[in-house]
């Protein structure tokens, strides 16, 4: 151990083994994953995001939603994700082939979002983003009111939010900025319920 070269060879071999095992081999196993085509129903899944939803994903990433929300449904042995209504099946590798950067997440301060597009409407999402505590009392989610504009009533637009009861301010409306609209479009696109063969158990 007094010869530097022995040390360096040791460093390279030990580290190299984990690179092979945890990076290279998974890459070879999963790099050629293609979307699944159902010939009977002519459906292809997954599809890459387009347009507003694709832009909205960037807003999701930029605002750090990943630090409190996951986007992975686990199977019933690991937890009652499915019983909670967070999905009809666990998510698998193919669900994420177009996700760059992938937003699996590691904290569930808030609920999982892999299928949130099926749970809440655009209207609810806007109100919830504007002030989470308005829709879910006790929530600790930060408010994203900076994605919205407060305008006098006479400058209202069709997509203005109608705030529930005690939250509404007479004479003013809340209008989503473009970032809020694309973000909600992205959230509405989140749907991993497609019946993939490898997800069946």
């Amino acid at each position: 151990m007094n010869r530097g070269i022995i040390l360096v060879i040791g460093f390279v071999l030990t580290f190299g083994s984990s690179w092979v095992g945890l990076v290279y081999l998974p890459y070879t196993q999963m790099q050629r994953l293609e979307p699944y085509s159902n010939e009977l129903s002519n459906e292809v899944y997954p599809k890459p995001l387009e347009g507003s939803a694709a832009d909205g994903r960037k807003i999701y990433i930029a605002n750090g939603c990943i630090y409190c929300h996951t986007q992975q449904v686990r199977n019933a042995e690991f937890g009652p994700d499915i019983a909670r209504g967070w999905g009809t099946r666990r998510t698998v590798a193919r669900d994420y082939i177009y996700d760059t950067p992938i937003q699996l997440g590691t904290m569930r301060t808030g609920p999982d979002l892999a299928n949130v597009g099926q749970r809440w409407s655009a209207d609810w999402q806007h109100k919830h983003l504007y002030n989470p505590r308005m829709m879910t009392p006790g929530s600790i989610m930060p408010s994203f009111a900076f994605l919205y504009e407060k305008r006098p009533v006479d400058e209202s637009t069709p997509d203005a939010l109608i705030l529930p009861g005690p939250w509404a301010e007479p004479g003013f409306v809340i209008v989503p900025k473009p970032e809020a609209k694309t973000l909600v479009d992205y959230l509405l696109s989140l749907n991993h319920s497609f019946d993939l063969p490898e997800a069946r158990e």
Binding site: A83, G85, T88, Q118, R119, W120, T136, P164, G165, E201
Partner: protein, 199 residues
């Protein structure tokens, strides 16, 4: 001046700073052997690891995704359809607490802007309709409504995407038989019929 000479110039033995003078020698190695108990323990850990790896690799397949017991029969995902009303209600309560309680509350009385289910004519009584209730849970409900003479204008989200027919039937049965409500249970096939209609 070279760097070495610069440094040498700065060192003045009599005035050398004190910490260096009071230091011990640089660390050296002792040569006690690795204790036997430790070698045994390491051996055990190695055996355990080999055993674990042999049992939990899912045939090294890229399509066998992480589960708790990949080599035993996997748990059936999805739900087992209950065959008695009691089982339906037990399942329904769990679904209710996981999905509905935040608006309709645990006592079924609702809150500001959220209608009650207790003694609601939508849920029990001659005007209640299993199909209509199924459609509400499947597709959601928005817009002004009246419940027990009180106006509401909120939104019930849709659950048809992530709840299958049996759990929906279960939760509807639960709300129709809880808090003093008394109405017939709802069967999963009623829900599946309602699912085929337009939202």
């Amino acid at each position: 001046m070279t760097h070495d000479e610069e440094v040498n110039d700065r060192i003045n033995v009599p005035e050398m700073h004190e910490p260096i003078l009071r230091e011990h020698e640089e660390p050296a190695d002792g040569f006690e052997p690795v204790p036997t108990w430790m070698m045994l323990m390491f051996g055990l850990i190695l055996f355990w690891s080999g055993f674990y790896l042999a049992r939990h690799t899912g045939d090294w397949s890229g399509e066998n995704f992480d589960t708790m017991q990949p080599d035993s029969a996997p748990a059936k995902i999805g739900v087992v359809t209950p065959d008695t009303t009691e089982k339906l209600i037990v399942m329904g309560k769990e679904i209710y607490l996981a999905n509905c309680v935040r608006c309709h509350q645990e006592d079924g009385k609702g809150s500001i802007g959220k209608p009650p289910l207790l003694a609601s004519e939508w849920v029990v009584g001659p005007e209640s309709s299993p199909t209509k209730l199924s459609r509400i849970v499947l597709f959601g409900l928005k817009g002004p409504i009246k419940v027990g003479g009180v106006d509401f204008n909120g939104e019930c989200p849709s659950f048809g995407g992530q709840l299958q027919n049996a759990p929906i039937a279960a939760v509807l049965t639960y709300i129709r038989q809880e808090w003093g409500n008394k109405a017939d249970p709802i069967r999963p096939d009623v829900v599946s019929e309602a699912r085929k209609s337009n939202p």
